[in-house]
Amino acid sequence: MLVMSTGMTVVIGSAVLVGMAVFIIVFVAYYQQRQAKQQLALKEIQEQHRRELMAATFRGQEAERQRLAEDLHDSIGTMLSVTKMSLNQLNRQLDDAENRRGQLHKTRDMLDETMSNVRRISRDLVPTTLQRFGLLASLEELADRATNDELRVVLDCPSPVDHLPQALQLAFYRISQELLNNAIRHARAETITIQLYCVGPDARLSVIDDGVGFDLDTILEDKKAGLGLRNIESRLSVVDGHVTFDVAPGRGSRIHAQVSLDTPLLVTLTN
């Protein structure tokens, strides 16, 4: 009888404990999975929020550039034109004294240079060609402007790119501008190629140069020097794209920016 009751105690006690153990194990696994999913969702929301902030920052930046460009063109540019006209008038009224005429020509040349600088700054601030004629035309203009006796900039774009969303066109334009500037200023390149390909659902922009190259880690460690490259990464993160740096000191650089046109984020930004 004693053994029987002991047996029952063991059986019932063990069954209860094992039941509790199984419950704890299943609960831990289930609860942890749910917790992990919630964490993931929270991270996604935070990432989305960060992207929206970034997009808003870039929109604000563009709006500010637009305002600056308009101010430069409408007020300073106009004032300079009026000053030049006035100077021309003064020139006609002056006597033939050679030294006065020479001084006047010099002043007019300085004014011309200032006016062309204002136009250039205004154009750089707001890519009006991009707004009016699209990405291809604006990149052609960018390449033409950069080309001179010592530097050749080639644009390679075999397929039409008009269908690219406006946000992506602007991002690609700004990235090209940044990389072109870097190649001219720091890499001392002789030939720069801007490639723009649309392959399947992806759009890819590559800027390839034959310059002196650079060490990516060193540049990214330097907060000031790496700002441009980080800016490229930020711009691409807004359109859910990514950048690949194929760079090394002593050889030309190949930088590729790739964006999937199917990404829902890009669709949202476009709408």
Partner: protein, 223 residues
């Protein structure tokens, strides 16, 4: 060889349990270099279990009381339980380790005090089980509170802790009442029934621990 292994015809569950012990040992030896410290201690523990089984079988073959080996191993189990849970790096809180260490030392001292040589040392077995159940529940609680664990199913210590919990819960009452159901004056059928039940839970523990050792290879990518 026959004096080292339990005869299959007479005690099939015991024979399977002895063979299953080799599974985590072989698996652990295969991946030993890539194993975390906690899992390495687990592999060593299983190897010691195997040594315990063959040495107790050897003594039993020559009709020598082998219960002292099991009693001694319950103290060794306490040491390894402390090491396994102390060296688990999921939980970064130092207090957690301090609790395990001091409680472990207290349990070991109590086990030494309660140690008996000629019969099942009920106190020792109960202490191991209570300490083990506490550690596993403590581990689960910390794992749920710590957000660093991304997917617990891919986490080796989840499987090991689950194995320990099932084994200790399933055998707690058997060893609590071992003076009646596993003692030398218990009927043979009664003894076999409860001993086999203990071995079945041990087999489950071996299998779950083997899963833990196997998933250890993903451990570095999940936290």
């Amino acid at each position: 060889m026959h004096q080292f292994f339990t005869p299959y015809q007479e005690y099939p569950v015991a024979f399977v349990a002895e063979l299953i012990t080799l599974l985590p040992v072989v698996l652990g030896s295969f991946y030993f270099r890539s194993l975390n410290h906690d899992i390495r201690f687990l592999v060593v523990l299983f190897f010691l279990f195997f040594i315990r089984d063959i040495s107790s079988n050897f003594l039993a073959y020559f009709q020598i009381n082998n219960l002292f080996i099991y009693n001694l191993f319950s103290i060794l189990e306490l040491v390894f339980l402390s090491l396994i849970f102390c060296y688990d790096d999921t939980i970064k809180v130092e207090n957690y380790r301090r609790v395990i260490r001091w409680l472990g030392i207290a349990c070991i001292l109590a086990s030494v005090f309660l140690y008996t040589r000629s019969d099942f040392s009920t106190g020792d077995f109960v202490i191991v089980r209570l300490y083990g159940i506490f550690l596993t529940i403590f581990f689960f609680e910390r794992a749920l509170s710590d957000v660093a664990v991304k997917n617990i199913v891919k986490y080796p210590m989840f499987w090991v802790a689950s194995g320990f919990l099932l084994y200790f819960c399933g055998t707690f009452f058997i060893f609590l009442l071992s003076s009646e159901v596993l003692s030398s004056h218990a009927e043979k059928d009664t003894f076999t029934l409860y001993w086999d039940t203990n071995l079945i839970f041990y087999i489950i523990f071996c299998l779950l621990s083997s899963v833990g050792i196997y998933v250890n290879r993903y451990a570095n990518n999940i936290s």
